[in-house]
């Protein structure tokens, strides 16, 4: 009798064990990403890693390779669709395929990401928000999925809800201290709001946790450049390039630094270096190279050359129909029709951003618009009105990275000159103090003699 019970117990264990293992496996063994090929998953992970490092081109290479190994890999498609790799039709194909992908073959995180981004891509921000909230609710208060949190934080960031974004990124860091994007964004948020010490702290932390990445050095360099620490900024950008020689953002920022610094030769050389890098090819598509050449010509006194660079050869078209220097030249040349056209172009961008529901660059575009109109009124001698527009532009602009910070300071210089012209000494003093508090070296630059 005892033997029979023993065999019964063994048989029962043999039946229950696989069930138990399956349950354990199903609870803890879920793969992070859906894929049929381990090699494809490796490429995907590598691409995501490059993405975190902001090595966009490398990331695209890995994602494409992942798709070669596993043509149906959904997340690879999603990343490629977002990075605008390939041509538009291919990108649209990716989005379509993502919408049609059977959801039951995806894990909850993938379902969420795909659903969220397809709504975003389709211009359905409310639905995207709803998907996000649903997924977060599903994860609960103590969720530690960095991807979900990252989406949430980026969402708030894009909406320019800085306080919420900061809280979100800090929450992300508290769970994943080494989530580099969060550190970087915190630095940017702080910098944007003029909290440079805090920005430095975040960027230093960024560099500390990812010393082998170029982005943190570049971020620090941008901050240093904005604050007028040109030598330190130069070292930081070069350090970034030592980490990754073809890191386009560092090259670009270095070129901008030399321009701010007045080192024209180095600026030109760096521009040529930019033009030679494959990783910077997207800048050419955006008309950055031709615009930079135009600025170089302009500061060298070659107004004609600058105009040719911008208005002929399709540079303005690459720039989306608006360029700060082009508008300035149009105003100086009394080509108000061109100026109006550029205003209309930028207004069109603003509307598009508005309908997309994200601030994104909207504020910056508005700032550009107000600044430009201010330049126009300044040139026409309507200084009080110009000052008002420059002031509004200042209110809409942030110290967001080197480019926009440079614009903000540039705009402040116009405001200061405008106050001088309109006999507003208090405004002059206040504006000078504002500039001086950030980068006193800017005060020595002379950008408005052409308008005067």
């Amino acid at each position: 009798m005892t033997r029979q019970w023993m065999w019964f117990a063994l048989g029962l264990a043999a039946l229950l064990l696989p069930v138990f293992l399956w349950l354990v496996q199903s609870r803890h063994g879920e793969p992070e990403w859906t894929g049929r090929s381990p090699e494809a998953l490796e490429e995907l992970e590598a691409g995501l890693d490059d993405l975190a490092r902001q090595y966009w081109n490398d990331a695209v290479v890995h994602f494409e390779r992942a798709l070669e190994l596993d043509p149906d890999m959904p997340i690879a498609k999603l990343q490629l669709a977002q990075l605008y790799a390939g041509d538009d039709s291919e990108r649209e194909r990716f989005w379509r395929e993502l919408e049609e992908f059977p959801k039951d073959q995806l894990n909850p995180r993938e379902q969420f990401l795909i659903e969220y981004w397809t709504h975003r891509h389709g211009g359905r921000p409310a639905e995207a928000e709803a998907v996000l909230e649903r997924y977060l609710a599903q994860l609960g208060e103590e969720n530690s999925d960095p991807h979900a949190l990252s989406v949430l934080c980026n969402d708030r960031w894009e909406r320019q809800q800085w306080d919420e974004a900061e809280v979100c990124y800090r929450r992300l860091i508290s769970r994943h201290p080494n989530w580099v994007q969060a550190q970087s964004r915190l630095g940017l948020i702080a910098m944007a709001q003029g909290q440079f010490e805090l920005a430095d702290e975040s960027f230093q932390t960024f560099r500390y946790i990812a010393p082998d990445q170029a982005a943190p050095h570049d971020s620090i360099g941008q901050l240093q450049a904005v604050l007028g620490q040109y030598e330190d900024a130069e070292r930081s950008f070069q350090h970034a390039l030592e980490v990754k020689a073809d890191y386009c953002m560092a090259v670009h920022h270095l070129q901008r630094l030399y321009f701010m610094w007045g080192k024209w030769q180095q600026a030109d050389a760096t521009l040529r270096r930019m033009e030679s890098l494959d990783t910077c090819s997207y800048l050419d598509e955006w008309g950055v190279f031709c615009a930079t050449r135009a600025w170089s010509a302009y500061v060298g006194g070659d107004v004609e050359g600058a105009s040719q660079e911008l208005f002929q050869g399709g540079c303005l078209e690459k720039r989306g129909g608006f360029d700060l220097l082009a508008y300035r030249l149009a105003v100086l040349g009394d080509d108000f029709q061109a100026a109006d056209a550029m205003e209309a172009a930028i207004e069109g961008f603003i509307s598009a951003k508005e309908s997309a529901g994200f601030q994104g660059r909207r504020s910056y575009l508005e700032a550009l618009l107000f600044h430009s109109r201010g330049v126009r009124l300044y040139a026409q001698g309507e200084w009080p009105e110009a000052c008002e527009l420059f002031k509004r532009a200042d209110g809409l602009s942030l110290y967001w990275g080197l480019e926009r910070s440079r614009f903000k300071l540039f705009n402040l210089m116009h405001l200061q000159r405008c106050y001088e012209r309109s006999g507003h000494p208090t405004g002059v003093t206040a504006t000078r103090q504002k500039i001086s508090a950030v980068n006193p070296k800017v005060l020595t630059e002379d950008w408005l003699s052409d308008l005067d």
């Binding site: 860091i173 201290p177 080494n178 430095d200 702290e201 230093q204 932390t205 500390y208 946790i209």
Partner: protein, 868 residues
């Protein structure tokens, strides 16, 4: 002496305190364990950066201090810097830091991200081995453990006293506070636990301090309030409501924590709300006030001095600590805090320990070995000398004197001349400070012992013991029981004690084996094994007896000493016990001497009495017996002891005649003599009262009388009366008399049928007989003592030998016959003691001259007298 209700375990307060004791000990063990583990943890080899942290917010970790020489110190990390990242990972919180560090090993280089002077910097830190901390923390731990052991010592000595229990609690809390709260913290997760426990101790310290000082050394202040009917809430709080006290401060602490809120960094000190430090300071202040109030109300000068000392130690030790916690800026382990707060703290255990040793506070007596103190003082003095010499050498090393050859000689002389006098002075100081009381006690006990030994009388020795011992050692009374007539009788002591105690061999063996004073509650299992002992213990305990001691000399067990409790004093210390036992040994000797003296006196008196009795008895026997003109009677009576039971007498028998009786009372010595007197008087009185009483009637009446005495003694009697040429005789119980005829033959006299001794039976029938004697014939009547006489070899003299003696004599003189028989008996016994009294009665027929018939051969004349 007033009856005393002895405190027993049935007292509810005592029972509660007794119930708390195991909990207290467990608590103490836990505190000791936590403190010990806290220190042990610091020896666990962990990679350590040398940073002591404190937390402003969960993600804002600041450097409190940097261990000198550590990796952090060498990397340039300073106090106030913020640690932002360790090992290329941004820091989340303290626990995260510990986890990050745990990935590395000792000797690894780890990149740290710190914020200093508003700038974020990366530094390289080499991890070292975790260090125990510096000398400051070592000192703190030593203080903490000193507190604990003092508290434990007090509790062990006085477990039932509430003040000692609270003091132990206080000591444990203080230990945990010092060792755990002031521990240099680092990243380890263990630190959070330990610091938390230290904070908990900090929270509970204020009520513990207050509670203790109100009770120490006795709650005299509270008692006076209670007696005066004032301050009822206070009285209630410190008598019954003290648990409430211990709940109040945690609540206040929690409120302080809650309200400090956002300003946590500002309103906190050593990671605890400032409110908790204020509570500590206020409690100390109030406690010291209570201590002062207690001290003023104490009756004993010694206790008051002790309390004053503790008060001074607390004021100068604790208040600086509290004040510096509140007002000294900087970190808790700063130099200022050390100098003004921690170093003076050592005064507290020092003064408290000294107060206990010197003034026996809390009724604790410590026996300090004088030799140990002498050794320590000598060692310290030697060290001082050595230090002085070294200092002198160093100060004057360049002087001519030091380099001179005479210097060592001068130095040696100085040491020799000064060392010993200084050492003696120091030892005198020690004696005056620590041993004054003990030497008084020793002297007093010595005096008492001498006084007892000097008394030769028993009562004197008893009085010295029972009167003076309680005064010396503080007993309420002492009682003495001595063994008399197989009972323990109370010789001295209060009347409430039983007059007699049962003699219990088990108890006696138990006490004799242990040789000393035993407390009634420390009899071990003896009461369980013997219900009689248990009953006795209970009875004695009820009367206030606390200890018993056996008194015994080498010869015998003398008795018991009962000792009461000692009101207001601790149980006997070991050295007191030794002195007491020594004294009781002397008492035993003195009592033994007294007893011997008493016995000797009694013996001498008895002997004197016996001699008087023998004289009286001898005087009762007639010098000469006459029973008629034709009869010659010789009678001798030889008692086996000083007095005996044999007798002979001459009784009047009427018509002017007399008879001779000879009797042998059963029993010897005094009892026999008393019976002999009774029989003699009974017979003589009857004979005198009733004239012409026939012998059988005399015997019957005497028998009745003697039987009525109820002593179950009987008298063997013989009676002879002359009747012409014959002798009328009656023999009851005596051996048959012998008759020597003229031809030399010896025959036994025929005896009557009924010859039971008198007094043996309620009724006797006695029939007299008659025998004729011719001149020259001798009748010899004797008591059985003659035939029962034994030789040294144990042989009886016997009837045969007697007959032979009678037959071998040729004398016709009864007196001579008696003498010869006596001589033969003496020769036989060879001078040894007679087994029984010997009575000989010889009767002969006188010649016509009334003289005894002349001997065939002349013999020496024999007086009719009683042999002595």
């Amino acid at each position: 002496m007033p009856p005393r209700t002895r405190a027993s375990a049935t007292n509810p307060a005592s029972k509660r305190r007794a119930n708390l004791l195991p909990l207290l000990l467990i608590f103490g063990l836990l505190c000791f364990g936590v403190a010990g583990l806290s220190i042990a943890d610091m020896f666990v080899p962990r990679p350590y950066d040398g940073v002591v942290l404190y937390k402003i917010a969960s993600d804002d970790l600041r450097v409190r201090e940097v261990v000198p020489g550590s990796g952090a110190d060498l990397a340039g990390i300073e106090a106030g810097n913020r640690i932002m990242g360790i090992g290329r990972t941004a820091l989340r919180d303290e626990a995260h830091a510990a986890k990050l560090l745990s990935r590395y090993r000792i000797g690894d280089h780890v990149p740290y991200l710190i914020k200093a002077d508003g700038r974020a910097l990366e530094v390289d830190v080499k991890l070292g081995r975790r260090q125990i901390g510096d000398g400051i923390y070592f000192y703190i731990c030593a203080l903490g453990f000193a507190f604990f052991f003092v508290g434990l010592f007090v509790l062990v000595r006085q477990p039932g006293l509430l003040a000692s229990q609270v003091f132990f609690l206080l000591s444990c809390l203080f230990q945990v506070f010092l060792v755990c709260r002031l521990r240099p913290a680092s990243y380890s997760g263990v630190d959070s636990w330990i610091l938390g426990l230290g904070t908990l101790a900090l929270v509970l310290l204020p009520p513990a301090f207050l509670h203790f000082y109100v009770l120490f050394p006795r709650p005299a202040w509270i008692e006076s309030l209670s007696e005066e009917g004032r301050g009822r809430p206070l009285v209630w709080l410190f008598r019954k409501g003290w648990p409430l006290l211990y709940f109040t401060t945690p609540v206040l602490f929690a409120l302080g924590w809650w309200f400090s809120g956002a300003k946590r960094g500002e309103r906190w000190f050593s990671d605890a709300p400032q409110l908790s430090w204020w509570l500590l300071g206020i409690s100390l202040f109030l406690g010291l006030m209570a201590l002062g109030a207690n001290g003023r109300r104490l009756l004993g000068a010694r206790e008051r001095r002790g309390v004053a000392l503790v008060l001074a130690g607390s004021v100068f030790g604790l208040l600086p600590f509290a004040v510096s916690s509140l007002f000294v800026g900087g970190q808790p382990n700063s130099r200022a805090f050390l100098m003004f707060g921690l170093i003076p703290l050592a005064l507290v255990p020092i003064t408290f320990t000294y107060a206990i040793v010197r003034f026996q506070l809390l009724d604790i007596r410590i026996i300090l070995r004088r030799s140990l103190l002498y050794t320590v003082s000598t060692a310290l003095l030697t060290g001082l000398y050595a230090g002085t010499i070294a200092a002198f050498n160093s100060m004057f090393s360049s002087s001519k004197l030091v380099s001179s050859g005479y210097f060592p000689i001068i130095l040696a002389l100085a040491i020799v001349l000064l060392f010993d006098p200084v050492r003696k002075r120091v030892q005198q100081l020690i004696d005056r400070s620590f041993f004054a009381g003990r030497s008084h006690l020793e002297q007093a006990m010595e005096d008492l012992g001498e006084a007892m030994m000097g008394r030769s009388d028993l009562q004197g020795a008893v009085g010295e013991l029972v009167d003076r011992l309680p005064r010396i050692l503080g007993f309420r009374f002492a009682g003495l029981y001595m063994l008399r007539r197989a009972r323990l009788e109370r010789i001295a002591g209060p009347e409430e004690l039983p007059i007699r105690l049962p003699v219990l061999p088990e108890l006696q063996r138990y006490l004799a084996k242990r040789r000393g004073v035993r407390r009634l509650d420390q009899m071990g299992s003896l009461p369980l094994r013997s219900p009689e002992v248990a009953q006795l213990v209970e009875d004695l305990a009820r009367e206030g007896v606390e200890a018993v001691a056996d008194l015994a000399s080498r010869r015998r067990h003398i008795g018991l000493v009962l000792l009461s409790d000692r009101p207001g004093r601790a149980p006997l210390e070991d050295e007191e016990l030794v002195l007491l036992e020594r004294l009781l040994s002397q008492a035993a000797m003195a009592l033994e001497t007294g007893l011997l003296l008493e016995e000797r006196t009694q013996k001498a008196e008895l002997e004197r009495e016996m001699e008087i009795a023998a004289t009286i008895q001898a005087q009762l026997l007639p010098q000469a017996v006459r029973i008629g003109d034709q009869w010659t009677v010789s009678a001798r009576c030889l008692p086996a002891r000083l007095v005996g039971g044999d007798f002979f007498a001459q009784l009047p028998v009427g018509a002017g005649g007399d008879a001779v009786i000879y009797g042998d009372v059963s029993g010897k010595s005094v009892s026999g003599a008393m019976m002999m007197m009774a029989a003699h008087e009974a017979l003589y009185t009857l004979a005198m009262a009733m004239e012409e009483l026939p012998p059988e009637r005399l015997f019957a009446l005497a028998n009745k009388r003697l039987y009525g005495l109820g002593k179950r003694s009987f008298v063997a009697l013989g009676y002879f009366a002359g009747n012409g040429d014959s002798l009328d005789y009656l023999v009851a119980g005596q051996p048959p008399p012998l008759l020597r005829r003229l031809d030399g033959t010896v025959e036994e006299l025929p005896l009557p049928e009924h010859r039971v001794p008198l007094g043996a039976l309620p009724k006797g029938e006695y029939a007299p007989l008659s025998i004729g004697l011719k001149p020259g014939e001798l009748l010899l009547a004797y008591s059985d003592g003659v035939t029962d006489a034994r030789s040294p070899e144990g042989e009886f003299f016997g009837e045969e030998r007697l007959e032979d003696v009678v037959a071998s004599t040729v004398t016709l003189d009864p007196d001579d016959l008696v003498s010869q028989v006596l001589a033969a008996v003496k020769a036989f016994t060879r001078g040894g003691l007679l087994y029984d009294d010997v009575t000989l009665l010889a009767i002969g027929r006188s010649s016509e001259s009334g003289q005894a018939a002349p001997d065939p051969e002349p013999s020496e004349p024999v007086d009719v007298k009683r042999e002595e």
